[in-house]
């Protein structure tokens, strides 16, 4: 029997993929025993409005949203196994880390941080893989 794939229905304003107005991505997809979360940028999950700010503030908003998305999908931050963080500037890494550590106080997941050019003026993108 093949593993099940499911786009997780979320109680948030998901990108409208049909009309072409949002990014053509699902926020959370389940594949087998894992949840795959799209690269998140700082935004209000209800309105979809961007919340651009400092690296620390964007990181905080993203991780608040990530927690909400994982909880809604029946998972949680402590079930995250791998995180990829993309930063516009690696000089900001300590500022990201300070906020990040508060969300993963105990046995944090495996993680990679990379400096890259990011879309739409954002300073931080965070994606993760978690246990479903």
């Amino acid at each position: 029997m093949s593993a099940k794939r499911e786009v997780i229905p979320l109680p948030v304003r998901a990108p409208d993929t049909a009309s072409g107005s949002g990014p053509p991505a699902s926020m959370v997809v389940r594949g087998g025993d894992f949840l795959f979360v799209s690269g998140l940028t700082a935004a209000d999950l209800q309105s979809g409005e961007r919340m651009l700010g400092t690296t620390a503030n964007e990181t905080r908003q993203i991780l608040i949203n990530l927690k909400q998305l994982l909880d809604a999908a029946g998972s949680s931050l402590d079930k995250v196994v791998k995180v990829n963080v993309l930063l516009r500037s690696m000089l900001e890494e300590p500022n990201m880390n300070e906020v990040y550590a508060r969300f993963f106080p105990d046995q944090p997941p495996a993680r990679t941080v990379c400096g890259a050019r990011l879309p739409d003026g954002v300073k931080v993108i965070v994606e993760c893989t978690a246990l479903a």
Binding site: A3, R5, A25, V29, G39, R117
Partner: protein, 135 residues
């Protein structure tokens, strides 16, 4: 009780699209492990010639995703079974154009995705990798 997972190499039916072998690179096109398929980053290669295909970005994204479909179907999977995609562009200003083409390949219930820009090799305009479910 955990069964030992089976690990096998995935190769495209079209040998011209076996970029890693044709360029003598130290990786394979993809690996199947248990229920999952992990594909290497794919770049625009003309499936008729095996040569790099460096047209406009829309065309580069189209040929890359079309080759990705071929790769997955060669392994008995499909684009509909993709759960995660990474899209890397050489030029961040190509994001909207990439999205436009990308949407054609994932019209409903698209996979989770992260897209950004970094330096790419050989003048490629895009590199795309994915994780999919087998079968």
């Amino acid at each position: 009780m955990t069964e030992k997972l089976q690990r096998s190499v995935i190769e495209p039916e079209n040998p011209l699209l076996n970029a890693s072998r044709n360029s003598n690179l130290p990786h394979v096109p993809g690996i199947r492990i248990g229920d999952y398929i992990f594909l290497s980053g794919m770049v625009p290669v003309d499936p008729q010639t095996g040569e790099r295909s460096h047209g406009p970005i829309a065309e580069q994204v189209r040929v890359t995703l079309s080759n990705m479909r071929h790769m997955l179907e060669s392994a008995g999977s499909s684009l509909e079974r993709v759960v995660r995609v990474h899209v890397v562009l050489a030029d961040i200003s190509h994001m909207a154009e990439m999205d436009r083409v990308y949407r054609e390949f994932f019209p409903v219930d698209p996979p989770a995705r992260t897209a950004w820009s970094m330096q790419l090799r050989f003048g490629n305009g895009c590199e795309i990798e994915c994780v999919a479910l087998a079968g």
